[in-house]
């Protein structure tokens, strides 16, 4: 197993607040790696740096031996890093089909194809169809995305992410606000995705984290306080303290 993605001393300061502070982080290819931590630990800020939303204050982000620190989001996406959001982030006014198709199309570059219908468009259509099937939305493909149920919205969101065929998938709380049933379905889907992609996820559902991930990184107040297998994290006193707090 080789490390496909890592950060070195990654930091983000907002004025005096050290939201992320010197985090070293490495993901092995083909695994599911979870990031957990109490509120305000800096998980989402960490993600935002990985995807180019925030420029880090210090540190490096390295993907497949290439330094991608500070690149804009659309370039990072093209390098093969896809991201899903905590709050569903889809194109509400477009149909499910149009959502996925525009996502697939992004992998074909910027060719506008205004006057002549480009040949690759058929390929885009087929791939879009395939992805819609993979996330189980075939029967809704002509439905306006905004009218989907919450669980289906999340599936579509995942469909948009995998449409770019990324090497690395970043998931921000994929089961937030889901019913128990929907959570289980999402878990199955993540496991299925893990066969083809490397996955990093932020998640608060401990059952899901513990059963899915190979490695867990724990953040607290912007710092990495522990890293290891689920069993190791469970047994780590520092982590227990971070979650339950200490009398202060």
């Amino acid at each position: 197993m080789s490390v496909i993605f890592r950060t070195e001393g990654l930091s983000k300061y907002f004025d005096s607040l050290k939201a992320v502070d010197g985090v070293d982080f490495a993901v092995e290819e083909g695994t599911i790696h979870a990031i957990i931590g109490p509120n305000g630990a800096g998980k989402t800020t960490f993600f935002n740096m990985l995807t180019g939303n925030f420029a880090p204050t210090a540190g490096k982000i390295i993907f497949r031996d290439e330094d991608i620190t500070g690149l804009p989001p659309h370039i990072i996406t093209r390098k093969g890093i896809g991201r899903s959001f905590q709050i569903s982030n889809i194109f509400g006014g477009l149909s499910v089909y149009e959502n996925v198709r525009v996502a697939v199309q992004a992998t074909y570059g910027d060719a506008p194809g205004i006057l002549v219908r480009p040949k690759w468009l058929d390929e885009v259509d087929e791939k879009a169809q395939e992805i819609i099937e993979r996330v189980g939305l075939t029967q809704f493909s002509r439905v306006q995305a905004a009218t989907l149920s919450h669980g289906d919205e999340k599936r579509l969101e995942i469909g948009l992410v995998i449409a770019a065929n990324p090497t690395l998938l970043l998931f921000d709380e994929p089961t937030a606000g889901m019913s128990l049933d929907e959570s289980h379905q999402t878990m199955d889907m993540l496991q299925d995705l893990a066969k083809r992609h490397t996955i990093v996820l932020i998640e608060h559902d401990m059952d899901l984290v513990m059963s899915l991930s190979k490695q867990i990184t724990v953040l607290q107040n912007g710092r990495k306080i522990a890293e290891g297998s689920p069993a190791e994290i469970r047994g780590n006193a520092l982590v227990q303290q971070a979650y339950l707090g200490t009398a202060i």
Binding site: T77, F91, G93, E98, R117, E126, Q129, I132, S141, V143
Partner: protein, 348 residues
């Protein structure tokens, strides 16, 4: 069911043929309809089409990409001036005048897009575009030597022949209508291609969710710049046609209230739809003519109608019709099959 979406989409690229053919029929019947049903005249139909072309272009930026420009009348005026200047001062004929006006306006739009689009969005973009339009207006009003000042450039002769050997004489209103209608149909075909092309799909994505589009790997600013430039194409053509139609260009064409008229046409017809701007422009120009027969305060009445739409039906007339049609179909479908197929065919 498994392949329904794919085949449905394949169909939709052919779908364009039906509406565009229907649109051609409408264009053929419009003069007759204007004269015999509405008891109006062909010239009004020509005027409707000219503004329909302009609004259709404008709506690529607003309805399809999500940025509201309050300065698109500037492109109409600018193209009109370029053409009129060459025609009046250098005796240029129809094709070269149209070509030059178009090219020059597009160059201006391209530079403007590079300057304004990366720096502003939302209402701030609207205000900057408004300011740009006003600058052109004042230049038009003051640069007497070139623009003719407040009076503008007058006495633009209509072309007597467009194609060698063609029987058309543009001084005949019906012949001129035919010319404008052909251009309107081609303009519609062009915009239909743009909106339904992969490029158009990205525009829609940007309108719905800029951030998400960026995360899919699209350079949103570049797409917005391109949409801006493309949205100036049709107003530029409309500007030249308007010069021939009126026989004159004047600075008032570039005033911000004129840009506001284009916004009103588009919203009345239905900004999130493809055909809305054309319908809206037709209605607007008809109301303008019809209401002004009864009162010189027609703008006030159109204003009331417009405000009513903003408040209660911002999706416009075509949008209302589409929603109604969708409900009808969904109602029928659920009765027969119970399948969830509340279609969201956008911008159709």
């Amino acid at each position: 069911m498994a392949t329904s979406a794919l085949s449905a989409h394949r169909r939709s690229s052919w779908n364009g043929l039906v509406p565009l053919a229907a649109w051609a029929i409408v264009l053929v019947l419009l003069p007759w309809f204007m004269q015999h049903v509405l008891k109006s005249n062909v010239a009004l139909a020509t005027n409707m089409l000219i503004f329909g072309i302009a609004a259709l272009g404008f709506n690529l930026l607003y309805g399809h990409t999500g940025e509201l420009s309050f300065g698109h009348a500037a492109f109409i005026g600018l193209a009109g001036y370029f053409a009129a200047y060459q025609i009046l001062n250098h005796g240029w004929t129809w094709w070269p005048a149209l070509g030059l006006a178009f090219a020059a306006t597009m160059l201006f739009a391209f530079i403007l897009a590079r300057v304004i689009v990366p720096r502003s969005t939302g209402i701030y973009f609207s205000m900057l575009m408004l300011a740009v339009g006003q600058v052109l207006l004042f230049i038009g009003e003051r640069w007497n030597a070139v623009t003719g000042g407040d009076d503008g450039l007058q006495g633009i002769p209509r072309p007597t022949y467009i194609l060698p050997g063609s029987p058309l004489n543009m001084n005949n209103e019906l012949h001129f209508y035919v010319l404008v209608a052909v251009i309107a149909w081609l303009a519609t075909l062009f915009m239909w291609r743009v909106v339904h092309s992969p490029f158009g799909a990205v525009c829609h994505a940007i309108r719905e969710n800029k951030q998400r589009a960026e995360f899919l790997g699209y350079n949103v600013t570049r797409y917005k710049i391109n949409a801006f430039v493309l949205s100036a194409t049709l107003p530029a053509i409309a500007g030249v046609l308007l010069g021939y139609y009126d026989g004159a260009v004047n600075p008032g064409e570039m005033n911000w209230t004129e840009s506001g008229d284009i916004v009103m046409m588009t919203l009345l017809g239905g900004a999130p739809t493809f055909w809305g701007p054309i319908l809206g422009a037709g209605l607007f120009k008809f109301m303008q003519q019809y209401v002004s027969n009864y009162t010189q305060f027609w703008e006030g009445y159109i204003g009331i109608v417009f405000v009513g739409f903003v408040l209660f039906a911002p999706q416009g007339i075509w949008g209302l019709a589409e929603a109604w049609w969708r409900n009808m179909r969904a109602g029928r479908a659920s009765k027969t099959a119970g399948a969830p197929e509340a279609s969201a065919e956008n911008a159709s």
